[in-house]
Symmetry: C2
Subunit: 399 residues, 2 copies
């Protein structure tokens, strides 16, 4: 009923620190728990620390994830930057490095860059390569998650159908997970800031606008993996603004960072991109401020509909434009709470992302950690480990 993986899950979530805790949570026999814990320790994912404080009896032997011998790499690939983070499987950031890097150089130079950085970070922190159990990568475009291949990504020329995982699995004994950057952000935000949220939307407002969807605690990728593409939803008050997608009135065309910069420039205040708009707001420019707030209202209009449809308990806003989250979220909240149904907004929270610049890399690392710690993964690893069942069936094979 309860597998070794579930035991690990309780330990990793901090729900159980001792064998006795595990017994209480799982209802399994002490002996069974002891055996499972031994297996996990032998396998190297769990370790014992110093005895804990007594509560009137023998002090328990505290258990925790073996963060010394198990780490992951999280990679955040953007159009023009690459951040690589080394994390242990407890989710602690050990070292990170960001470089400008044009993703349109194509797969091989970019992947080699990641490989180099990974080795540097390992060397810095004195961790052997073999401690890297998985690599998570967030990319700015649609990906077929199961195979880790980008699917006609508009801003990643040369990457279509490139088998990203193979680059690493051919060289090292690791698992590699590739996903859309917004999905990765949603995953990270949920883990680090909203661990109890079962239904969450992560809205990234950068040059474009995208959305990561967590439904019932798991990422919703949709039938073709294109779910969350809210940037091209038509907005009621958008007028006929032309969008790069060919349609008019898209959310992205009126409320994305690039659109705001254009409009600001047209209004006589030169702004190159979303970041420039952010800077202007921070400098107190009233026109930029109003524009960001209006953009928030437009995004809020779309989100109000999605709140009715999806009924999330939290909306988290990230991306470059969230650096000025006061006006942005004010505009969004204003429309959402007015337009959505009371039942749906009753316990809804609309908050800025807490993960900052590191969000993408941390989320990608979390994707990798989740894989390493997933019950199914552990059960398989433990079942196939040498010595488990010393192959008592040569007779079958012989005949």
């Amino acid at each position: 009923m309860t597998s070794p993986g579930d035991v690990l899950d309780l330990i990793s979530r901090g729900a159980a620190e001792t064998r006795a805790d595990l017994v209480r949570h799982t209802g399994m026999a002490r002996s069974t728990i002891g055996q499972r814990v031994d297996a996990l320790i032998e396998y190297g994912l769990v370790e014992e620390t110093t005895p804990g404080g007594s509560t009137g009896g023998r002090p328990p032997r505290l258990l925790r994830l073996n963060t010394r011998d198990n780490c992951v790499i999280g990679v955040d690939l953007g159009a023009t930057h690459c951040r690589v983070a080394l994390m242990d499987i407890g989710g602690t950031l050990l070292a990170t490095r960001e470089d400008p890097l044009r993703i349109d150089m194509g797969p091989l130079p970019v992947l080699r860059h990641i490989d180099t950085r990974m080795h540097e970070l390992l060397a810095e922190t004195g961790r052997p390569l073999a401690t890297v159990k998985a690599i998570g990568i967030g990319v700015p475009g649609p990906v077929e998650f199961a195979t880790g291949r980008p699917a006609n990504p508009p801003i990643m020329p040369g990457w279509h159908d490139h088998p990203i995982p193979e680059f690493f699995t051919d060289r090292y004994d690791v698992e590699v997970l590739v996903d859309n950057d917004v999905n990765v952000l949603a995953l990270g935000e949920r883990r680090y800031a909203h661990p109890d949220a079962r239904h969450l939307l992560f809205v990234k407002v950068g040059t474009g606008i995208g959305c990561g969807i967590i439904a019932d605690g798991r990422l919703h990728r949709g039938a073709q993996g294109s779910a969350g593409d809210i940037g091209h939803i038509r907005v009621p008050d958008a007028g006929d603004a032309q969008c790069r997608c060919g349609n008019t009135g898209c959310l992205e065309a009126v409320a994305g960072g690039a659109a705001l910069a254009e409009r600001l420039t047209a209004a006589g205040i030169p702004a190159e991109d979303g970041r420039a708009v952010v800077d202007l707001v921070n400098q107190g420019d009233p026109t930029a401020l109003r524009m960001v707030r209006d953009g928030g209202r437009l995004i809020g209009d779309v989100l109000a509909g999605l709140v009715n449809f999806f009924n999330p308990e939290a909306i988290v806003v990230g991306g470059v434009m969230a650096h000025v989250h006061e006006p942005l979220l004010a505009g969004m909240r204003e429309v959402i709470y007015q337009r959505s149904l009371p039942l749906a907004t009753h316990r809804l929270t609309v908050v800025p992302s807490r993960s900052g610049e590191l969000g993408g890399a941390l989320g990608a690392g979390r994707l990798a950690i989740d894989r390493v710690l997933s019950p199914g993964h552990i059960d398989r690893a433990l079942a196939h480990r040498p010595g488990a069942t010393p192959s008592p069936r040569p007779p079958t094979a012989a005949r």
Copy 2:
């Protein structure tokens, strides 16, 4: 690794008809499969039929669900009608009955009516009461699914927080599941018409407009159980039509059956409600036809956004207005395929519901069947059945 419930699942889905099939599908030992099947037969959910045709060797003993001794009740409650259906656990409709019934009479008269009809249907088909294993009920309002209590339903006065399941569980040994009518329709449609669809939207266009969401094969109910309420999403071209919810520009206020009837009446063609509009279209009235098509476009506008967001593989349209699905779906498709992203519409199908008038009751019955056949349910039932573990622990209890 594979539980008795999984064995039942394979049988109920038609994926395995013989013990040998089960061995091939599960990879388990013949002896284990035999033991599990015996347990399921003894428990009464599975039975053996006549030997099947030989394929060159001993003919297999065919297995199937024991539909004779296991049935469920599906109930479709509307504002002014009540349909009760008796189905076996294979999903076959055995008998059904519809009556006009005002749901605003309050819980007790309505539930007593259902109880009476249930007994009549059982008598008609000669099935004992004890063969009813579960009851599924779809109601026209929001429900807290876990407890089966309506949550401030607007058109069900007196039902708020009423514990519907208790009415039946106090009298009989059954499980009772209560859900929103649109959710129930979505569930039924998926099972009967789109068994392979993992992500599906069921759009009900009646007096109002609602949507049942199937995400990754399971119903998405959202944080407060209000997911799918798309009737009050703002539509770009809706103008300032006043909606009963207090806002303006809601989809329901411009494209629902009631709204179409009003507008048709205002145009000089009297129509009392959505059904009257349908009748007019069927009589060839060009104004009504145009209005339905325009309504389809408006709904399509909202759905185009949801397709981008959710990326379903199928949209199924039901409800009264779907009786004239040619113009309705034409309008919807026109906008969806124009506005949504190519990747998301590539394999998207937009089709009318196939379940007709019986859809609600069949879906509610399916909800009940799914519970009866759910792996977890079976595993528990088999573990607790008398004789499984003949209580080998009097010593513990004695001390």
